[in-house]
Amino acid sequence: MTSLELRNISKGFKSGKVLEDISLSVKAGEIVVVFGPSGTGKTVLLRMIAGVHYPDTGSIAIDGEDVTDASPEARGVGMAFQNFALFPHFSTFENIASPLEARETPPAKLKEQVGAIARMLKIDHVLGHAPRELSNGQKQRTALARALVAQPKVLLLDDPLRNVDAKLRYEMRLELPRLLRTFNAAVIYVTQDYKEAMALGDHIAVLRNGRIEQWAAPGDVYREPISVDVARLFGDPTINLLPCKLEINGTGSVTLLGRRAPVSGAYAYAAGRDLIAGLRPEHVVVTETAAPDAIPFDLDAVMPVNVRSVLYLRGPKGEELLATVGETEAAKFGRGHRKVWVRFAPSDLLLFDAASGQRIAPQVH
């Protein structure tokens, strides 16, 4: 049963068009992440579902019922805002109770439901406090509790972990999916952090320039990004992008960094085109000694990152390359400023059309 359905939503403001032809549907119990860099209209989309803005064209349906023109209070949606938006002059208890109070829940039942959700989110000991006395983490949980308490069919979460410190953000990233699944609501979660998107979403809608550029499961967006821009948004460090040309002489090959890398003949249809080859840092193999097919590079800096290290490499023509290697391996390279050799597996290459930015896939006949 689709709990939430958006069809052909468009929205423009005086400053320009923000959203164009957005369609998606979310089932009960499903988490859809709307992902994109800042300013792409993700928040506007969420607010239209909530009823704060109205779309120029298109329709919104909740549980089969058309709510496109309905006022916010009539939609039965729960929303948690990025800056919490708690009522400063109400206590934490009253904040959470607000949706129940709007539905005229009898006081005893109201108290019970607020207590239950506060316990679940571990804020039952601060129910009597005013919002300004709470820590950021507690404020965020209060905002969540308020969104969830009336068991809404649709739950909208606007980058709720943005204003919370790194350690807490990681904890919440682990806790949230479990929490959300107990409510069985259709969830739309907005974020700019790709790791959060991959951790939380059943599906990811990548929003760019007001349109959904890709709609796929997290692993698929990472492995098969639909365009250069999407590939750049997923992955830390960012994917390496190098211009190359595709030649077909019997089998296909791309000339990359001065070497020929064989590619499947199924790319034949793209022969002669200017391409951009994408190579993820974890797929770049760096060795201390020369090897067949390896290209000499200058290792200019070594940056440890948690358990691995990022190597900053510069090629003979000034090309920049980032490679990720394990901690123990990185120890061999010291502080850098030495020569190394770089290899990669051609099958790890992602090929994109240089003009359109779209990924080209091998054509299967």
């Binding site: 704060v52 006022s71 209070e73 039965g76 938006a85 400063p88 709007a102």
Partner: protein, 285 residues
Amino acid sequence: MNQISTLERIIRGVLIALVLVFFLFPIFWILLMSFQNNDQILRIPPSLFFEPTLQNYLALLTGRLETTAGNLDIAFMRNLGNSLLLSTCSVLLSLALGVPAAYAFARYKFRLGENIAFTLLSFRFAPPLLVLLPLSLFFKHLHLTDTYIGLIWVYQLICLPLILWIVRGYFEDISPDIEHAYRISGHGWWKTFRKIAIPLARPGIAAAGLLAFIFAWNNFIFALILASASKQPVTVGALAFVTASGIQYGQIAAAIVLSVTPTLLLALYAQRYLVEGLSLGAVKG
């Protein structure tokens, strides 16, 4: 890091004292005058020492003035009552109209919105004398001359712009997301206005109301032209002390003290809110 030398401190103290004397002296002198009779006031050289008398206050309170030329009826207490009535009603009316209008200006950006808002503010800047003549003609036509309703209506020119501009700033400072959250929770727009917008803007509304009261109380020209003696506020009523038999300085001073005291006390009590209201304190969501 910076040490303020003792010399600087002394100079600062002296300068502040001078400024205070400059501003407060008239009030102080009038206070003294109100306890003196005419002879003592007009004595040369003027002296700080005298025998205080409550005669002036008595005359005002009882409404009877005994002069060398005979007895006069002073309607001061009635004037005080008029001031109170006019100011209070004007402020209440302007709040009832201005607060929702301020909310509309803050939340709904419509075409010409800024123009309308600025026009309303410009009423504060326009010299009243400019509009008095046409206004008095209109009033005669509408039979509003010498009515409380007419005066309260005209006083909106003083009170309404103030309310609009101060309260609008307060509403703008409230994060719209707070109201959105309340509506999404399931409450209608009127309840949101009552339970969220107004409580959060309360300091601003109080400050604007107080300020409007003070300005309305101080107004002179509208009541002078558009009302008769029975509706006069204290500002106009003070003119009555310029009598045929001479100027009763003592009573004028007492009248001034009694007129100024309510608003002075109000301002002192609420000065914190006034400063806050005028500097548009932020309410963060």
